[in-house]
Amino acid sequence: MTHWIIAPVVLPALVAALMVVALRHSLALQRAASIVSILALNAIAVALLASATQTGPEAYFLGNWPAPFGIVLVLDRLSAMMVLLLTGLALPVVLYAVGSGWDAKGAHFHPLLQFLLMGIAGAFLTGDAFNLFVFFEVLLIASYGLMIHGGTRDRTRAGIQYVAFNLVGSSLFLIALATIYAVTGTLNMADLAEKLPTLPDGDAALIRVAAVMLIMVFAIKGALVPLQFWLPGTYANAPGVVASMFAVMTKVGAYATLRFGTLIFPTTLPATGPLVAEMLLPAALLTLAIGAIGILGATTLPRLVAMAAIASMGTAFIAIAAFTPATTSAALYYILHSTLATAALFLVADLVTRRRTDGMLTAQSPIAQSGLIGALFMVAAIAIAGMPPLSGFIGKLLILDAWRDHAATVWTAILVSTFLTILGLSRAGSTLFWKSQATAGDAPKPKPEPLAFAAVFALLAGLAALTILAGPVTRWLDATAASLYDPAPYIAATKLYQDRADAP
């Protein structure tokens, strides 16, 4: 498997470059190349997942340099799962982009999407903290382009705020990394995990500062209060299909928090102790509350879905913040679920918005295919609110069960916010689909787009599969969570370097 580990990074980069250079003038060829590339990525991701499950963590030494001097990519169960989630989400998204014609509304949609995939896959796979920064930048630069795709006035204005916010985040990331390097002399994640516990007491304060700054950077990515301000404007103004793909971008923040919180700053580390967990929990509870209140207060459909995305990140971070194997397993299940559910809801919102003159949550003349889209909205809303029978219910149940010791705060927050979410979504649904029936007038009639509907169905089928296979999935996730709290194999994998005879 050795060389396949880098394939999720290299393949989209090559395909994107090919598209920009050779396929620039043919949208049909770009679409074909993009879909073929994502299908291949899915196959690679499944193979990587199987390999990580069977053989445990495996490192790829870029340029055949030994770690910690060179950069390593590390494939373990968590990163393999996140890569599969990414490619699994990318397929419906690209089908929807083709089916709805979003990719024809501006130049270079498909190359930017491929670069985004490259950046996110790299961020999931890398075993080097500075390399993580570089992949963050790759995915951000691609996302800046996608965000203002087909630019309108509001979209470009929101784009400015999004770019400015993330550029500040990048500066903060660099300061944190430089501080860590100054103290430890390494930025390799496995090497950091080994060196941090042996640091002299005098350096503990610097490490705490760096840890707080790093978690702040990941909180920006994960839209954690009080750093969530960029998300509603960005997701609500981005093209629906792009917002749907961005559902996995907030998960990069969750993934990085989980990776750093278990490998580098575990609660057993003397320098930081439970600092990370203590910071995350109140922020996560507030995020959930603000998301739920935002759902009630939203005046447009895309903004409502963006608020639902914030609420789901709050729930995921509540589960992450406990840093025990049981809660982490619940967090991973919820991350899988909420990515698919948020993406599905964004696509449904886009279906609605494009059939109306705007996305306002007011009664307007009934949209074309109102019944089918209404049903899709209801299924996606059930999923994101966490009602039975879909996987959101199982995810929230797992989180509640794992947080049994802190029922007073966590249970109240999750249950009340779920109620608010249901309230907000049902009000939006009844206004959009029922009240509109009583309104006269002709809504714009777009041409039929079977591929776009197929993409939404695929995402909802993914949620259904996650529900039906909840048993095997949670067992696999339990093992994954357990492996995160036993980082020895991960660290050992980066030391397996052998000086090959053919190396120069």
Binding site: T152, V163, L167, L174, I175, A178, Y181
Partner: protein, 114 residues
């Protein structure tokens, strides 16, 4: 030396943050530039300040490692400079597009009501 360098980083970062909070996109982008200068100098300083020592090992390996500067922060700074240069250029493009579409250089896309 340390005082001068740390004061320079502090002044750059403080001016950068102040400009970031201003309402005009031009001020924001200058602020981001100043902030990234501060960050670059900070990374550079984190490799310890070494005077008159090359970061490159001579042919044949080290004779005395203390006579050489840490090369890694310099490589990191180079990467950070390239990335911040690229993102600043990209931000400039978005900014100009926004100026064209909204007709104002206010970050909110509209002038504040008087």
């Amino acid at each position: 030396m340390e005082m001068v360098l740390s004061a320079a980083i502090g002044v750059l970062a403080a001016s950068g943050i102040w400009l970031l909070l201003r309402p005009r996109t031009f001020q924001v982008i200058v602020g981001l530039c100043l902030l990234s200068y501060a960050v670059n100098l900070f990374i550079f300083a984190m490799g310890r300040i070494t005077l008159g020592a090359p970061p490159i090992m001579p042919r044949g390996g080290f004779i005395d490692p203390t006579a050489y500067a840490d090369p890694l922060p310099q490589a990191l700074v180079l990467t950070a400079i390239v990335i911040s240069f690229a993102t600043t250029a990209l931000f400039l493009v978005v900014m100009i597009a926004s100026r064209g579409l909204t007709g104002t250089d206010h970050v909110d896309g509209q002038e504040r009501e008087p």
